[in-house]
Symmetry: C2
Subunit: 646 residues, 2 copies
């Protein structure tokens, strides 16, 4: 029902199947008021290519006329829309007007009966002002209603939307999400966030979303209920939200507010539309201002929809090029409270890190301090600070890693390069990413990054030196210090490189396994490592774009032999194993377990239930996703062992 | 010939008059190659509403056929374009291919003869790699040719473009600009910047532009020669550039590169066009990819033009709402080297400060550290650090100015507010803007700003305390510290407010003049000062949006009486004086002198040549602009004294 096609961390481009067609996510569900159709559903479908919309079943239920027509001809006929329709239950009306005079089962049954594609339970709206015991009770009621709803409609015909509540308490959000996820629902809105949106409480919003996602684990579409401003889409998608509903396009239009990706402007304050959308292209700003109110509202609503859909397209393009994080950081400058929300990403970096690949094709662009707090960067920094072992015990030479001299090793003076294989010294670069051992300097994003200037991180260096108990330090600034090195014998820089990159990329111990023997390196013309041979066998190739290794058959066999399960493994079912051994991809639903430290993009060992190695693959999903999703790609097989060994 | 209509600091929206119509600036001049018309000039005019384009006279001159036709029928007929046409001289060809076989006068004469609206002298392209003596020689040659050109064509019929050269040496750029400005030209390109653009050397670019602008002083349009990427427009307009030429739209298109405000993407890397332009709206990405090369190039060129023109519209809207600085800071996140270029703004803040108003209607949005370095912010910080005088000599109480408690004075405990008029203490707020005396807390942007969090600036506080020799400091965190205050008698908080704001807004001494006597304050319901009366006369009103004063007649009379010329004055000609006394605006061309510390938006005293006060006005221009421009608004008169006193 929900198949992930592309991903960038927690963000995903997916296909969500409904009784009325496949919905591509991320996507917007424009809110259609059955009484007031500012833009008709038919226009939405035709002009804006809307695949899904949302309407309020409670409003229909309250009107005898609409109710009768809906029950008679069905919801799709009532609205004149052939795509997917989600219905809301009246929860938001309860939030605005107080308790409703309707039974939870009654309104749910109604939604299913009129043929809604996604029917929403009547959950309890948790307010930011609710104290935790009030929230807890509302969560309990919501979960109880969800249990009841899934008992009755868990097998269809409608998707049942099970909203996550929990106010502004991350632990209650997580708990609610966790309890709802046990029901194996196919659609999860995050509810009760409108008051946060209205008050620009984006910091709290991020904490709420991340806690909800953490509780949910891998699930089908996550819908951020009530988020209708395009300004928020990049951030929300980055956090793994897939669907947005928007009544804002219309509400804003009624007060003359035009949406832009960087905020909102009232038509009265606009002198230059500065918009290329079909609606704005047809009009001058003066003409738009001079329209009568209804027509002006309609035009502005159209503009708001164009801009919203286009922002979704920008987000999708960013996911495809794995640059969503950059887009989020740029967009965050639209409002100081969005900027503040980036801090909530930092404090939740461990939750997000699980979904981040170790490398990507696009260089890291520095946009501000928060760039250095991205999970992808933080992982490398923390690994060096806490886990990297200097391979030699000689003194440590610290270089200043200049932005215009990357990768650093190519710019070291010939003398020091010539010396390093012979002398046992640790070579460390001072960089904006903290201290980087010289042999790690081509690993993403050390070389693949652009910083505005030298932003060396002294504090991280000191922590590293303290942990490794390094006191014999030389700050390198000329050839004269070379004299002090010639007492110590050392090991080769290239050996260190293979060793340390393997330790970082695969796991502790992999460096030893893959360097233990006679190492031979094939380099390209520029002196970069291309292929690694151990005892005459080709074990690794280096990827040029992220400085990490592709695992070759002999390398995989070594790792499999020397590192015990579950390390580096994805264990698949017997059926899948024979299929994967032929070089075919690994799919979700056939994975028994996946090692918890696997990250998307990692090289993994595909094993059968007896831990026999059947294939080498590149992970597409995180381990939890592989274990829990039912459809879609889990890992892309590069080499199947039956075919290669036969 | 060049009339500024709206401004935001150095950025301006203006009308530039050419023999072929008025060109609205900022604007783009698409480059048209007379041999290869990817998009015809007629299409540019019809579809893209191009008001001006640029072509290369040297290319026309080199082709006997084109040359003959141009001489015979004129340039506009040759290109089939009825708007303004600028011609380049071949300087760029010399930069690419080496010395040309043509005399400077020959190619200039040719341009004028074929009816170019803006003819460019054959200047000497200064390379970033040229050393300063080479650059100096090239500058001398360029200036000599400019002198010659202006001798012959200074009175028309064509505008003569006098390019500023000087390589990457700000002093030589400034010198070149200053020498050229003496020729009273009507069109100034900044030349020799393409190599900087190609290598993303935006930091150097900013220094070059600012030095050139400083040397030029107030002039007609400034054209950034060769800047064709929309990513640069906000920054360049912020620095006072008015025109851009773009061959990039076509060049990029030929290699499949699509421009976006945040960078460039090759069509092969694009999965989602994410663009609303008329060209992209008509096509899917697959359809675009499948077009044959010529048609694809054409479509991409159109897209590039739409995006470029739209970015200009965004810039214009930002100028209108005085938010261009925010747009620049947001766009700077598109590339780390753009971000770095903001540092060049900081180091040149004094040049830019001259054009910045003290307040504006839009709140200050924090986008990163550079926000605190904007000239508008820096001016206030520096004034408090260096010029503010505590009005009482008691101890200083320092509060923590919380972001959610602004304006701070409304949130002080009732007790301290009640005490402050009676006790002689200095009340200081710790804020992200540095220390702010409590009575200044409603002055822009102290209250009118949004920060992501408390970012208190300890260093500035210490500098302030040191300068004022303040040692008796109490960090306020509760009522108990009140005990220590009751020995000192004090003056009223409101008196301090009027005094200090006047000192900051008008000049040193104004506070004394406008508070010396019996002060009476009229407040609004929320307790904010509305009107200030001194000895029964209405002297000042407070503007709600920036916390600064409007000067009333009696206030102006007092300032005029007690503060000697040139303080606060704009002296106009006899003719203008009688006109302004009737309440009519002050225009450039009629200003004898303007006090050098006047900033756009300031309240100014309009005086006649005998220093008689004739009107109160609000400056539109900086003093240098008032003195040097020939047309356009200099200051908006609010009160003329002849009418009011008759």
């Amino acid at each position: 029902m929900f198949e992930i096609k592309h991903r960038d961390g927690m963000a995903r481009i997916a296909e969500f199947t409904t009784p009325h067609g496949v919905v591509d996510t991320p996507n917007i569900m424009p809110v259609v008021n059955p009484n007031v159709k500012l833009i008709t559903p038919r226009e939405l479908q035709k002009k804006f290519k809307s695949e899904v919309l949302i309407t309020n079943s409670y409003v229909i239920y309250q009107s005898q006329h609409l109710k009768d027509r809906a029950l008679e001809r069905g919801l799709h006929s009532l609205l004149d829309f052939t795509g997917a329709i989600m219905t809301d239950s009246g929860t938001f009306q309860a939030h605005v007007y107080g308790e409703l005079d309707i039974e939870p089962t009654e309104i749910l049954d109604f939604q299913v009966n009129i043929g809604s594609d996604i029917s929403t339970i009547l959950d309890m709206f948790t307010e930011p002002t609710d104290n935790s015991s009030v929230v807890k009770k509302k969560v309990d009621t919501t979960v109880a209603r969800a249990v009841d709803a899934m008992d009755r409609y868990g097998d269809g015909p409608s998707h049942i939307a099970l909203p996550i509540q929990g106010g502004i308490y991350p632990d209650l959000r997580e708990e609610c999400a966790e309890r709802l996820s046990r029901l194996k629902g196919s659609f999860y809105p995050i509810g009760g966030v409108v008051p946060l949106l209205e008050n620009y409480r984006f910091f709290d919003l991020v904490n709420v979303i991340i806690a909800s996602k953490r509780g949910l684990g891998p699930t089908g579409p996550v819908h951020l209920f009530g988020a209708g401003h395009p300004m928020l889409y990049p951030l929300a998608v980055l956090l793994g939200c897939d669907l947005f509903d928007s009544s804002s396009y219309a509400k804003y239009a009624r007060r003359g507010d035009m949406m832009y990706p960087d905020g909102t402007r009232n038509i009265d304050d606009i002198e230059h539309l500065a918009c290329l959308c079909p609606t704005c292209s047809d009009l001058t700003v003066e003409e738009l201002k001079d329209l009568d109110t209804d027509e002006k509202t309609r035009k502005i609503a159209e503009h708001n929809l164009w801009v919203s859909y286009n922002e979704i397209e920008k987000v999708k393009q960013a996911v495809r090029e794995e640059s969503l994080w950059e887009l989020v950081e740029r967009r965050a400058r639209a409002h100081p409270y969005l900027l503040k929300s980036l801090k909530a990403l930092t404090s939740n970096w461990k939750t997000m890190e699980i979904y981040q690949p170790k490398g990507r094709k696009k260089a890291l662009f520095y946009t501000g301090k928060s760039t250095l707090e991205r999970p992808m960067v933080k992982r490398l920094k923390v690994w060096i600070r806490d886990s990297y072992s200097p391979t030699v015990c000689g003194p440590t030479i610290i270089f200043n890693g200049r932005e215009d001299k990357k990768p650093y090793n190519r710019y070291l003076t010939r003398e020091i390069k010539a010396l390093s294989p012979e002398y046992s010294v640790n070579l460390l670069m001072q960089t904006p990413l903290g201290p980087i051992p010289l042999e790690m300097d081509e690993v993403y994003p050390v070389a693949q990054s652009i910083f505005p200037e030298d932003l060396n991180d002294e504090a991280s260096l000191q922590k590293y030196l303290d942990r490794c108990d390094i006191t014999d330090v030389i700050y390198w600034d000329g050839l004269e210090t070379l004299e002090s090195l010639d007492k110590v014998t050392g090991i080769s820089y290239e050996l260190m490189k293979v060793y340390s990159v393997c330790e970082y990329q695969f796991c502790r111990g992999a460096g030893e396994v893959l360097t233990n023997g006679e190492l031979e390196l094939v380099k390209n013309r520029r002196g970069r490592i291309k292929n690694v041979f151990l005892n005459g066998k080709h074990i690794l190739s280096m990827r040029h774009y992220d400085g990490l290794f592709s695992l070759k058959e002999e390398g995989a066999i070594l790792l499999h032999k020397h590192l015990q399960a579950p390390l580096l493994r994805v264990q698949v079912t017997e059926d899948s194993a024979s299929y994967n051994a032929e070089g075919k991809n690994v799919f979700n639903g056939f994975v028994n377990y996946a090692w918890e430290h696997i990250r998307p993009g990692d090289e993994v060992l595909i094993v059968d239930p007896n831990d026999s190695l059947v294939a080498i693959a590149r992970a597409f999903n995180s381990p939890y996703e592989m274990e829990n999703y039912h459809v879609g790609l889990a890992a892309r097989t590069r080499t199947g062992f039956s075919s290669s060994q036969s």
